[in-house]
Amino acid sequence: MRKRLVVIPEKCSGCRVCEIACSVHRQGVNNPKKARVRVTTVYPHPVVRMPIVCSQCKEAKCLAACPTDAIYSKDGVVMINEDECIGCHACVDACPFGAMYIHPDLDIPLKCDLCSNNSEPQCARMCPMGAIVYLPEHVFGQAHRLNNVLSYAHMKEIEYMEKGEPKKLHYADNNAAESFEEQQGGQNEKA
């Protein structure tokens, strides 16, 4: 089961715990500028705080751009072979999300590898807001699907009492389906 990092920018507070956790665990130094994740903030029009994380793309632009084939994909994680890397930073330029980083002290670009040996990347583990989450690929889009289903236009709501407590129940109204067919000229019936 492959997993990826997902960002929910609405939850991000811009605290940069992800950056500092990444740098102390992965680089062994206290330096948010050496993190493989960065929070970008825009204010006040619009107000957005968003950690930029690597998507581990299947058709990775960074990999394609590398002139020495130093970037490779293994088990769904895009990584840099440091022996092959010449530090030209073509990959940094190629990433459409800006999710690779340069630091003046380092020859090799900073690239997220999902903390390869860990069960959960440090940024997701430490984020106090739940703005970076580590999810199996098959649940991607589930939230949107669920949202779509629940906001289905013909949803009805009834209130009822259970043990003296008011409760709500949602259901999809069959009558709505009929009226929908009528609007369409009863084509289904004819068929």
Partner: protein, 602 residues
């Protein structure tokens, strides 16, 4: 001598704007142990500067501005994004400082400095750019009159770097308003004591910083273990969710129920309309996001948007409690969008919301009581909750226009022009009181009175504890608590970390001693660190004595001795005799003489 293996770069950057020259001063481990960092180093540097100059005009080129994060700023630990701005205050004429959150201090550390000092005056409006080792003074006359929001964006554009950290002043700093603040990341403020005016007097519009260096840490494994335990403990705290949602706005209801919410210029301490400016109103219709300082899980910053009505389109980070109270109940605004608008204007103009709300309230009461004439008010009347006129006043203060020119001079300037307002201007040493009434808790009166910078709550916030548990406290217990707060809170400012995990979520003080030990590679106990803090407090006092502070300046505002008008603490008042006893005991316990002079002199 303790050898530090982390925590310090051992470097102070000195900048002289007279000739745009900069130099580096190296300091040793002894210096670090003696002053720790942040506020501690700032006090030492200002002390040294006072040795050079016989007289310091707070708005003169000789006044030294110190910007100092601490040895824990930017370190992997909860809430490590703090940074002190210090100088001789134009509001009080005494030592002044104010701390700022966000990421500005972290960036200074990453540029490799433990502190920055600025003296002199630039030939034209300029900003200081510190790019690791490269320091330059860049003229920016085009930014004259620009608000903080625009100035910060323009400097980022000018340097072609979206991530550069900027601390700027607004129009109020340029016009030398005595309560002008310094603003970073659009809305993180070093609000108090008029540091913005000190920058303005130096023609210094902003300081921009970019750094890449590792923050030195001696024992990384210990830091990781201690800090991750701390993050976990805070994350699981029962109040954490409430904190993340409300931040300090939750204090509005608390203060109102306790009877300490400043209302109508501190006349009342309880407001029947407080529900119109509380956290529920904010959460219901206005909040669109959280903000946090560096490394902080508590995200006390609330971003709010006004979606409709007269102030539609207003976006502001805030208010927090102080602003909601000072620009809400204290001036009678019962319309939350109005509070947001006033907050936004203060941030953009670069005015301290506490002093602004305090002095506007004094003017309203002064007019109400016929102590001020319509002529004094430029012919335009003002009353409680008059939003339009209050917004107009904020702008007039920032631009030093009309009546605003007088208000911008702060409590001292206002009283010099209108001495008849003496009973109703609520200040200590010239600094306007912040948003906790102290009549129900005499320890808080002592905290305001003896505060080195004037009537500011963060020096010693004892009001909550005394009201909740202090009914039977002896005078000595009250004095001890004030002194403990004055020392432990200084320590937070010296380390460059926030006090909120401690005061709000009960996080233990020992954690910081443990971390400072892990970062420096030396064993430190809390008691030992508090001793350093006490020494800094004595030094600050000696600075103030040299600058003319007397025992007479150590009393709370006159209003403290007038009974509370209404609410749960109606009739409560600070007893003059009790205060006198407390103050004398306080001096004695500090080892100061009966006039409040310490045995060291600057």
């Amino acid at each position: 001598m303790k050898k530090h293996k982390g925590g310090y770069f051992g470097k102070i950057l000195h900048v002289d704007l007279n000739d745009s020259e900069s130099s580096i001063e190296n300091f040793d481990d002894d210096f670090a142990s003696q002053y720790i960092g942040g506020r501690g180093i700032a006090v030492k540097l200002i002390w040294d500067n006072l040795k050079i100059h016989d007289h310091i005009d707070p708005l003169g080129p000789e006044n030294m501005l110190v910007v100092a994060p601490g040895p824990l700023t930017g370190v992997y630990l909860p809430s490590s994004g703090k940074n002190s701005f210090a100088a001789i205050s134009p509001a009080t004429g005494l030592y002044g400082d104010s701390s700022m959150g966000g990421g500005f201090g972290v960036e200074i550390r990453q540029a490799g400095y433990d502190a920055i000092t600025v003296v002199g005056k630039a030939a034209e409006l300029s900003y200081l750019f510190i790019d690791d080792d490269n320091v330059s003074v860049i003229p920016c006359p085009e930014l004259r009159g620009k608000g903080n929001l625009e100035a910060e964006g323009r400097i980022r554009e000018n340097l072609s770097d979206h991530d550069v950290r900027v601390a700027s002043i607004g129009i109020a700093g340029e016009t030398l308003a005595r309560f002008a603040c310094v603003t970073s990341e659009w809305s993180r403020n070093a609000g108090r004591t008029g540091i913005g005016a000190v920058m303005g007097s130096k023609n210094l519009k902003a300081i921009a910083v970019r750094g890449h260096q590792d923050i030195p840490v001696s024992n990384m494994e210990d830091v990781i273990n201690i800090s991750e335990k701390a993050y976990k403990e805070l994350g699981e705290h029962v109040m954490m969710g409430m904190w993340q949602r409300q931040g300090l706005m939750g204090v509005v209801d608390y203060a109102n129920e306790m009877g300490i919410l400043p209302t109508y210029n501190f006349r009342d301490t309880h407001w029947e309309k407080s529900k119109s400016i509380n956290a529920n109103v904010m959460l219901g219709n206005f909040k669109i996001g959280n903000t946090a300082c560096f490394g902080c899980p508590m995200c006390c910053g609330n971003i709010n948007l006004v979606k409709e009505g007269k102030w539609a389109g207003t976006v502001t980070e805030g208010p927090e409690y102080e602003t909601a109270a000072m620009l809400g109940s204290n001036v009678g605004i019962d319309n939350f969008p109005g509070v947001l608008r006033a907050n936004y204007l203060c941030d953009d103009f670069g005015l301290d919301t506490i002093s602004t709300g305090n002095l506007i309230a004094a003017v309203i009461e002064g007019y109400e009581k016929d102590l001020l004439t319509l002529e004094d008010l430029d012919g335009k009347p003002i009353s409680w909750g008059d939003e339009d006129r209050i917004m107009e006043l904020i702008e007039q203060i920032a631009k030093a226009e009309g009546i605003g020119e007088t208000i911008a001079l702060g409590a001292k300037g206002v009283l010099a022009k209108w001495p008849q307002l003496k009973p109703i201007v609520v200040h200590v040493k010239g600094l306007e009181q912040s948003a906790y009434d102290c009549r129900g808790a005499s320890s808080m009166a002592l905290a305001y009175g003896t505060s080195d910078i004037g009537a500011h709550h963060t020096r010693a916030w004892t009001v909550g504890k005394e009201l909740e548990a202090g009914a039977d406290w002896s005078i000595e217990e009250k004095v001890d608590l004030v002194m403990y707060h004055q020392h432990i809170r200084s320590l937070f400012d010296m380390f460059g970390v926030c006090r909120l995990p401690w005061i709000e979520l009960g996080f233990h003080e020992d954690f910081y001693a443990e971390l400072y030990s892990a970062v420096t590679g030396n064993q430190y106990g809390l008691e030992e660190l508090l001793k350093v803090s006490q020494n800094i407090y004595d030094m600050t006092r000696a600075i103030n004595v040299k600058l003319g502070a007397k025992k007479a300046d150590d009393y709370p505002p006159e209003r403290t001795f007038v009974p509370i008008h209404s609410g749960p603490l109606a009739g409560k008042v600070c007893d003059k005799a009790e205060y006198e006893t407390m103050l004398n005991l306080y001096y004695k316990k500090r080892g100061w003489d009966k006039n409040g002079n310490p045995d060291i002199s600057c």
